[in-house]
């Protein structure tokens, strides 16, 4: 079963995670809705052009900007925590069909390991991005700079996927940083093609994110934008699962070859 087939064979997993994301985003947008509504009530804004109204709204209610910022950050943090709690189960499910109880059991038992390896990955990512930033600082082309930094970011994500997968499927140690370091090493030495594929898929996910940005801007004030955005969030999630599935497949292939 190739990586994409693994994702396609787990529609419930994708759907559950997607709905979780939507619920988090929706829940954290409710305080914003209440505050904006309170600020405008009982009046109505009827102009087709929203920017003047939004400008006045934010200028007269500066707390709104802070509220939206807080909502975005908090939703992100909650989503990250949820993901760390569930990712071991996700990897387990992508390795093959599992009963829900096993999914939950793996997720629960491995979540401390996932937390530790994610923490190591955070440090590694910060160091890698700083190094990349220093390397591209002299470049004049901002596009090349951005692409380089994104490739480095993606490599860190792919290494983390591999380390997590090794911990879940191959019982690698999460406590020792070598699991993550070996993942980086293996990506370049042993499975460079998987690395390229996973980075490519990450570009695809980034493409969906960019599309979401388009939808948010071009669809402002329209009814379809939020549903298009939600749909794109689902596609972004699918791409992320695909990237993880590449790690799962690669680790399983390695184990099979070793076995």
């Amino acid at each position: 079963m190739n990586a994409l087939q693994r994702v396609r064979s787990a529609p419930g997993l994708w759907l559950g995670l997607w709905v979780t994301q939507l619920v988090i985003a929706y829940a954290f947008s409710r305080p914003v809705a209440a505050t904006v509504s309170q600020a405008i009530s009982p009046h109505t804004y009827l102009r087709e052009q929203l920017l003047p109204g939004i400008g006045e709204l934010f200028s007269q209610n500066p707390e709104l900007g802070a509220l939206i910022g807080t909502a975005v950050v908090t939703a992100g943090i909650l989503s990250a925590i949820t993901w760390i709690l569930l990712v071991a189960g996700v990897i387990s499910r992508l390795s093959g069909p599992k009963p829900t109880a096993e999914f939950i059991g793996t997720a629960a038992s491995k979540s401390p390991h996932m937390l530790i390896v994610t923490f190591y990955a955070l440090i590694a990512r910060a160091l890698a991005l700083m190094t990349a930033g220093l390397l591209v600082r002299g470049l004049e082309q901002p596009l090349i700079k951005a692409a380089t930094v994104f490739v480095v970011w993606s490599i860190c994500s792919v290494a983390l996927d591999r380390a997590r997968t090794q911990i879940v499927l191959a019982e690698a140690s999460a406590l020792h940083p070598k699991t993550l370091l070996h993942s980086f090493r293996d990506l370049f030495r042993t499975v460079p093609k998987q690395l390229a594929a996973a980075v490519g898929v990450n570009f695809l996910a980034a493409g969906f994110i960019v599309c979401s940005l388009f939808v948010a801007v071009w669809g402002m004030g329209t009814g379809w934008a939020i549903w298009a955005g939600r749909g794109l969030a689902g596609l972004t999630l699918a791409a992320t699962l695909w990237r993880i599935a590449i790690a799962v497949e690669s680790v399983e292939q390695g184990r099979n070859q070793a076995g």
Partner: protein, 733 residues
């Protein structure tokens, strides 16, 4: 970008690794190609050199009125630039004519560059050493030092002496002294200069240019040489007008003719006020001669990197000096310049000079940008939105609007030349008004200034939004030094609020008559230093003191019935006084929109015989209005005046039957109630045509019945939710 999708499909059809590898390259290349497309700079424009004009003024039939009596102060300047020391050394011969009935015994001189001489000058103390873009790096003080002063000639006629005549005069040394603030000095005359007399003095000076700051100075090899030579104050019947150079203040000077000899390094490309009449290159130096007529200042710029482009507009030579990395923007600036010329000549009369030079400061020298001088101005670069372009982001503020604004100053400063210290709004504010008119002319159907996606901001919106800021700290008609640097009110009040009050008046009294009034002002006061009262008087003379905006429509059966439309009259004088002299804001709120039962005739009433009859129960008292017949209901709309500035305002009410009605209110009471018998209102809007640019707070101007969403909450909340989803997805956990 969407190339990536085909890659996804092909991946699903075969083996993993090679196809996944393709995905990487397809996605990455697609993304980079798409971003690369939008990052391309526009091409440099074609260049057709336009010959230097031979006369500083346009031909008499094209330049409009240029009154000879406005010529007061002539300057002959001989200056040399030392590019290493960043110094200009020179002499200036000033011939000043006394066209007043006053007699003077001294000449006050502006030494503007001395504002940057020390930390404790009035300018630097107020600004705390920082200007628009902050405190410059590698700071170099600027100053001007007069090294000698001589009286060359004093005569009773008003004709300027010829150079030959002047050479034959025996110069007489003069005393001069700086005032407490070194931006001013006085030259004592050995004898008085009476009405009709003129005097010629010659001063030697050294000007040290500062690190480019507050519109003047140097940055690497770029020089913006402005406010660089001693200038005489303006004698009015009330005495000398010579002001200390303060933080926000600009300039005030008399018109005259300038002849300027510049000696600069050979590699410099030079732009200057007026026209170049001679050029000679020898020994690594370039000697240039310039002539400018009927101007009140002379500025010049030099930079070896300038790339030069030309256009011709009805005999006016437009010269653009732009930095090599920005040549792609030159065409946009030409377009803005030509559109502004078209609009302003139509609205404010002929541009009298034969040339205009647009200057672009280099990166790092932005402090020189966005400033006007006679027949020359500095603009700003057009912001490159980069990938934001893909999101539909576009704006006309940077670059284009700066060009519109700074050229506009050729009229509202260059030509009308009001006292910018005493009444800065006449210059900056009226110029901003004219800029908005230019934008209306340039984009008649859609005067946008910023776009994002399918949303846009018009020039009117931008002014209204600016007023949300510090528009109620200082009044408009104030001397410039009353606007303190630590208050953010100067830009909002002097520029935007002036424009808002003028355009609100235009919208109320009618565009045609207002435009006629502005044209009358521009025609009458060309080269005449008008004051605020001149503008107000001219507008009132054209528009009328009292303008009836709504005729009275009294219901004969009940003159007090609120359905009646009272007469609404705008007193233009009162309006201008309140708008210019107070900080009062225009602000209305639509407090109530409801359908209610109309007052009936049930109960006891006396008949003609004096007997009480009737006593019926009230009809429909407890029935919901939705179930009452139309003739038993009315719509009630109540407007509150929240601001202290009463301005006539219109109300539009839309009814369930699809019809609409409008009413006018003079805005004088604290609130006003309108009723519409037999009608069921579903929407009421104050100022439906958005005439009141002075009203910044408009979110409370509309109420609706039967509409569930408020028109804004959903859009903001959807955007917030999408931002959250993007953040969640973007982390790629």
């Amino acid at each position: 970008m969407f190339v990536g999708f085909s890659g996804v499909r092909s991946l699903d059809a075969g083996g993993v690794i090679p196809r996944a590898h393709n995905i990487f390259w397809t996605s990455a290349l697609g993304l980079v190609a798409a971003l690369g497309l939008i990052a391309c700079d526009p091409p440099a424009p074609a260049n057709t050199p336009v010959a230097e004009p031979t006369e500083a003024l346009r031909p008499p039939d094209q330049r409009g009125s240029v009154p000879a009596k406005s010529r007061i102060a002539d300057y002959v300047i001989d200056a040399q630039l030392d590019a290493e020391k960043r110094q200009v050394t020179g002499t200036v011969r000033i011939t000043w004519r006394n066209r007043t009935t006053q007699t003077v015994d001294h000449l006050p001189l502006h030494l503007y560059m001395n504002a940057f001489r020390a930390e404790d000058t009035t300018w630097m103390a107020e600004g705390r050493g920082a200007h628009r873009t902050g405190r410059p790096d590698n700071w170099q003080w600027g100053y001007i030092d007069i090294t000698s002063a001589n009286l060359t000639e004093l005569r009773t006629g008003v004709d300027a002496p010829s150079p030959t005549e002047l050479q034959q005069q025996q110069p007489k040394q003069l005393e001069w002294k700086e005032r407490d603030d070194p931006s001013l000095a006085d030259v004592k005359l050995p004898t008085t200069v009476g009405p009709g007399q003129q005097v010629t003095i010659e001063l030697a000076f050294v000007t040290q240019l500062p690190t480019v700051f507050a519109r003047t100075g140097y940055h690497d090899d770029f020089f913006m040489v402005a406010q660089w030579f001693p200038k005489v104050g303006v004698l009015e019947e009330t005495g000398w007008q010579a002001h200390v150079f303060t933080f926000h203040s600009e300039f005030y000077a008399d018109f005259g003719n300038y002849q300027v000899f510049l000696d600069v390094p050979e590699n410099m490309v030079v732009g200057a006020s007026g026209i170049r009449t001679a050029e000679e290159v020898a020994d690594g130096r370039k000697k240039l001669t310039y002539k400018a007529e009927m101007v009140h200042d002379f500025a010049w710029t030099a930079d070896p990197d300038f790339v030069e482009y030309h256009r011709d507009y009805n005999g006016i030579r437009i010269r653009q000096l732009i930095q090599p990395e920005h040549v792609g923007d030159a065409e946009a600036h030409f377009e803005a310049q030509i559109e502004t010329l078209k609009s302003m000549e139509k609205r404010f009369g002929p541009y009298p000079w034969s040339t205009i030079t647009i200057v672009h400061a280099p990166d790092g020298g932005e402090e020189a940008g966005g400033m006007e001088y006679p027949t020359l101005y500095t603009t700003s670069d057009i912001l490159n939105p980069g990938p934001a372009k893909l999101l539909g982001f576009a704006e006309q503020f940077s670059g284009r609007f700066t060009t519109v604004h700074e050229f506009g100053h050729q009229y509202f400063q260059g030509l009308l030349a009001s006292n910018e210290f005493a009444q800065p709004w006449l210059d900056e504010g009226m110029n901003t008004t004219s800029n908005m008119l230019v934008m209306y002319d340039w984009h008649p159907d859609d005067p946008w200034v910023a776009k994002l996606g399918n949303q846009k901001l018009t020039i009117d919106d931008s002014v209204r939004m600016a007023l949300l800021g510090a528009s109620t700290i200082d009044a408009v008609d104030r001397q410039v030094d009353t606007y303190r640097a630590f208050n953010p009110s100067y830009g909002v009040t002097v520029y935007r609020k002036t424009a808002a009050l003028m355009l609100t008046l235009r919208n109320l009294v009618g565009h045609e008559v207002f435009d006629k009034g502005l044209r009358a002002y521009a025609d009458k006061y060309r080269f005449r230093h008008p004051k605020g009262s001149d503008l107000a008087d001219t507008l009132i003379a054209t528009i009328g003191r009292r303008v009836t905006l709504a005729e009275a429509k009294i219901r004969h059966d009940d003159p007090k019935h609120p359905e009646s439309q009272p007469e609404v009259v705008l007193d233009v004088r009162d309006y201008l006084d309140q708008a210019l002299q107070t900080v009062d804001a225009v602000d209305y709120k639509l407090r109530t929109l409801k359908v209610r039962r109309i007052v009936g005739r049930s109960g006891w009433h006396r008949n003609d015989a004096g007997e009480l009859i009737g006593g019926e129960e009230p009809e429909g008292l407890d029935t919901p209005t939705a179930k009452l017949d139309d003739d038993l209901v009315e719509t009630l709309v109540v407007i509150d005046r929240k601001g202290e500035f009463p301005v006539p305002v219109e109300l539009e009410v839309e009814f369930e039957d699809g019809s609409t009605q409008r009413r006018m209110w003079d805005g004088k009471a604290r609130y006003w109630a309108f009723t519409f018998p037999g009608k069921r209102g579903i929407r009421a809007t104050i100022d439906p045509d958005q005439k009141l640019l002075l009203e910044a707070h408009t979110l409370d101007n509309t109420r609706t019945r039967k509409r569930k969403d408020d028109g804004l909450t959903q859009a903001v909340v959807d955007s917030a939710e999408l931002a959250e989803l993007i953040a969640i997805g973007g982390m790629g956990l």
